[in-house]
């Protein structure tokens, strides 16, 4: 029986799931509702997000949520009945997530 590589992906999925559960609702309230409502000024946003800690937090959240979503979507595809081309689908989905993380790193640090 071949040892599975799932522990690595599952640990990322779990870490991402926990962080997403803790921060995403509050972030949606901030950027989806408080921002358009005008409750937060540009200067405050700029201070928080140009801070080195802020940059790392943005990248960290992005990495973990993408890793979580990619893993979940990959397994959901199988549950939805797409049982063919598993390797190709896995490569495509994890690749997309990795691309998103690289894009975020460029945004945050360039």
């Amino acid at each position: 029986m071949r040892a599975s590589n799932e522990p690595f992906f599952w640990s990322m999925f779990s870490a991402g799931g926990m962080v997403a559960a803790m921060v995403i609702p509050a972030l949606i309230i901030v950027t989806g509702f408080l921002l358009p409502a005008g409750a937060i000024g540009f200067d405050r946003l700029n201070t928080v997000l140009t801070n080195p800690i802020g940059r790392f937090v943005v990248l960290g959240i992005t990495f973990l949520v993408f890793a979580h979503a990619a893993h979940r979507l990959r397994h959901t595809m199988i549950d939805l009945g797409v049982t063919q081309f598993r390797l190709q689908i896995a490569v495509a989905i994890y690749g997309l997530a990795l691309g998103g993380v690289i894009w975020t790193a460029i945004v945050v640090f360039a």
Binding site: G17, A26, I29, P36, I40, R44, T62, F66, R72, D79
Partner: protein
């Protein structure tokens, strides 16, 4: 050996019953959260570009379509949070002596932490 009727499986099993429908919604929450994070990173990049770019993006955030997306994403995010915290004591069983730490205690701790973190996040931006 007589002829068996082979095992069947439905390709739409997740529509059959409410527990399965909720499961599928829970799984889809990840997609909505990922799309939300993409919007968030775009916002961050606009802020780095300066106030004008940010104001343009804020107009985009004000459009009804985007507000509705954020409402749906919030509903999915809450579904994720609640189901996630409920799952924690299933994977982590902590035994003290002869008794297990009650699942409610573990779930409650996570929900308290969740509220605390949420207040901090909203506070950081509002102050």
């Amino acid at each position: 050996m007589s002829k068996q009727y082979p095992r069947q499986h439905s390709s739409t099993w997740y529509l059959a019953r409410w527990p399965y429908r909720l499961f599928m919604l829970r799984e889809l929450s990840a997609v909505f959260m990922a799309v939300y994070v993409v919007l968030m990173v775009i916002m961050v990049s606009r802020i780095y570009e300066g106030q004008d770019a940010y104001e343009d993006y804020r107009d985009f955030l004000k459009s009804p379509f985007v507000i509705v997306f954020h409402l749906i994403a919030l509903a999915f995010a809450l579904l994720h949070s609640i189901t996630w915290f409920q799952a924690v004591p299933r994977a982590i069983r902590i035994r003290r002596g002869e008794e297990f730490v009650p699942p409610q205690a573990l779930i409650g701790t996570h929900i308290l932490a969740w509220f605390g973190i949420s207040v901090v996040i909203i506070g950081i931006f509002l102050i």
